[in-house]
Amino acid sequence: MMMDNKISKKLNCIFNSDNSLYFLFFCLLIFYSLCATPSVGWRDGPELVETAVYLDIAHPAGFPTYNLLAKIFCWIPLGSLGFRLNLFSAVAGAATVLLLGFFLKKIHQFDGKKETKISWLFVPLPFFALCQGIWLASVEVEVYSLNLFFVIALLGCALLWYDGYGQYWLYFGGFLYGLACGNHASLALYLPVLLILTFWGQPNKGDGETGHGRLGRVFILAAVFLVGLSVYLLLLVRGQAGVLPFNFGDVHDLETFWYHISDQKDSDYHTKSILNLEKLFFYLNIQSKKLFHIFFIVGIPFVLWGIKYLWEKYQALVVSLILLVFINLGFFFYWIDGSSAFLPSILAIFIFLSVGLGQFARFLIHLSISRTIIVAGAVAVVLAGGGYFGLQRFCERDSEAGFTANEMFWSDFAEFPPESLTVQSSNYFSFLALQYIYSVRPDVSVINYSSVTVPKYTPQLTPQKFPMVVFPLLPDGALMPRMHKEFASSFFSVNIDAGKDVFFQYSFDVNPIIQYLRPDLNYLWQYRLYKDEDASKKAVEDGEYAKLMEQLISTFTKYAASTDPPFSKKAPAYLFYMLLSPLSVALENEDLKSSEELLTVFINEFIKNEERYIVPHDVKVNAHGYYAEVLYRQGRLAEAISVLEKVIALDPSLGIAYYQLGRALLENGQIDRALEAMCKATIIDEFHLLYLHYYVRELSKHKSLNDASAFLDERYAYYTKNELHYFASLVDYYRNCVSLDPEFEDVPSGNPFLNKALKMGQSSNNSLLLPITQ
């Protein structure tokens, strides 16, 4: 018994103090650092490194708070700039967990017990810190870990104010909220959450009412909030100051400033479509599965228990947190692949879960179960579960820890001819980093199309206002960017300084650049393997395609000759990695005698990876789809169809799989099934108009032009009804401009503008360049 008491005291001493939270904070710092991406990484990483280093303007809404804070880390002369900023995310992530620990401790003290009992926090906190979304946000350059830090800090301010620690906590919160919105503008949507926290209840203790009534409080809060929010002036001031290395959206006056900070380019995705009930339930299903995946079914009773407990103590907090979840899910409802976007929801639910677990621990104590046993059990759970998750994350670290992001683009960039110009898609920042962080080739101009378009972005690119060019991207586009060179050179050379070679990087969203450079043009350009589908088909027949594939394979084989392939072996389940990891494994195999064998190893590895990474984790990546693509290109249509049917069975929400299936069925002569599949692709992936375009073309070819037109009318009505004006305008564009594509030359059009274009197009030798200016 004496022994038991001693152990109990020791365990309590270790786990029932603030020091244990600091210890956890330190451990997380170390762990996140070990897992951190070594360099600029993927996605927005290269862009955010660049904008932090130069205090430039990142994509909407600009993230000025992030840039200003991250800049401090740029001055620490340890590691590369990319790595330092990854560590900034690590610090923000670990600090979030630390604050969360104190927040939960404060909630625990609602019972009036001032003694610190936080041992139960140690069960859930490490799991929270190691869950995929939190971990990923903490090991790569992104704004999300800092965003989460702000969320918990704001909740903490509200809690301290409510608990009578002083009214200044309320105004600290208001000021912090302004700054937080400067980190990620989506936080502005949580205003109702904070209003509820502020006005639902009054402070528990002290003299909360301060002589100024609620109106006065609102006024002061608004004032301090606006002061914090003024951090956004960075965009306007920097944009006006002169030519920045990178200025996404060319912010330079009040109009462009407002356009940028209100993120109008993504408004369709974020808000309008939520009103579509059918889609709402479809995505609700996906989102709920994601949440269950995070918290497991076993967590739900604890979440409910936590809600019940908190409801008795602080109703406003419960309502606020639930509202926060709804707002977060609503805002990113269609962003189903971006786990980082949902961190505030995870945080809110996790708070309920932790409180519930704390009550469970109390319940066990109430049952007279020895405190030592409970604490020891908690430690065991942490060691076992935390260790398991930690190990899992540590192994996944190669997802971000490889140098693939650098190596993948290095050789292209280094080998550009002198004084090249490369035009990049808005979401394609790797060259930007190579130029401005590594400063590899100052003679090469890297242009992000967002920087040259005025007015901004595509929503305004209606056919009436801006003639445009469509460059659909096929899955193979990513692998063969240089195939555009010939076309791009001839096209750009008349517009851009003579003497500059142009490498045109692939892009689906490249329209604005073209319309900027050649506003007199309006044409539809169908990129297949070559300039159009017929040429593409001809290339396949003539063996050119095979030649290119051989060229590609020989490049890979070059890597295979190296005993040190540049690509990470333990690649995870993201698109790039799913592609690169199998390649590296295949290329490392020295026994392969032919490209056919190489391809076979590649495919097998692909499937293996999918089973290891994708299926268990429900990651929405169409790995089998790539396999099917290979089969399709080899003419093994029956096999491709079978694989694609498997893909659809695995994940019926993959529009691309239906599109691929439709294409394969079409080749196989199963027209009706093909059209059905392609139609489904357009419905499922309502934001991917490329599928719509393909479907309409095939529909007109195999059914009738009237069917195609009717379908376009129906889709136009759909997008209009749901206030998806950007997509409606694009459909309208297709509806009007199909006549420019040879496949659609008979589409009747009552539009004199287009009829004129059609006539000119028929008389033009160059169907690609079809001037139809009025």
């Binding site: 070594p38 001055w75 590691g79 009214q167 105004y171 100052p442 003679d443």
Partner: protein
């Protein structure tokens, strides 16, 4: 302040320990990459050697293996040049330049090596641009243009950046301090009395905000 003294000490200790760990990690990883680079160089696999030297620079610290890696990469480039492998020399020098540039902070590490590498890169590019038919004088003139471009790039206004950040932190801290002064635990401020108390902070806030705005236009 005394109330939070313990917490501040703990956080500072954690920060110190974290920096120590960070520095150790850099050296550990840089030395690993350096060893690999040497092995590949030994095996005449120069492309892989370049890559690993470059990755050693990614783990830059103002001392130790990353410095050695930079020097050895320079030496490798010169070796290529000496043996007529111009393209490989160009690749090595680009790796050297890129690796060191990405490790810059308030200073550019091993600027001497970058300065030494730039002329080779410039000359190589000039030859590429003008082709084999160009005369030596033409190539040299073109190389001079590139050299100037490479020497000036990237433009780094770290002094103004520093003032921008100082201004930003200044007004943020002053903002929090002002709230703490003007709104105490119990009642609304006595504006006149608190103004006396907070005027220095108000001044700091205004100056810092002004500094922030002004330096942003120059940074």
């Amino acid at each position: 302040m005394n109330k939070y003294k313990k917490q501040i000490m703990i956080v500072l200790s954690i920060a110190a320990a974290f920096f120590a760990f960070w520095a150790g990690l850099m050296e550990y990883r840089a030395s690993g990459e350096l060893e690999k680079a040497r092995a590949f160089r030994e095996a005449s696999n120069y492309e892989a050697a370049d890559r690993h030297y470059f990755q050693a620079l990614n783990w830059y610290a103002p001392w130790g293996s990353s410095q050695t890696a930079a020097e050895e990469l320079m030496e490798l480039g010169r070796e290529h040049l000496g043996q007529g492998r111009h393209t490989q020399a160009y690749q090595s020098f680009l790796r050297l330049r890129g690796g060191l540039m990405a490790a810059r902070s308030f200073y550019l590490p091993r600027a001497d090596l970058i300065e030494a590498a730039n002329p080779f890169i410039a000359l190589y590019l000039a030859e590429q641009k003008l082709g084999p038919q160009a005369s030596r004088d033409e190539i040299n003139a073109q190389a001079q243009l590139y050299l100037q471009l490479y020497a000036e790039n990237p433009p780094i206004g770290e002094g103004w950046h520093f003032l921008t950040i100082a201004g930003f932190l200044g007004w943020v801290i002053a903002g929090f301090r002002l709230i703490a002064i003007f709104f105490d635990n119990r009642r609304l401020l006595n504006v006149r009395q608190r103004f006396q108390q907070g005027r220095a902070v108000i001044l700091l806030f205004i100056c810092a905000y002004g500094l922030w705005l002004f330096s942003m236009t120059r940074a």
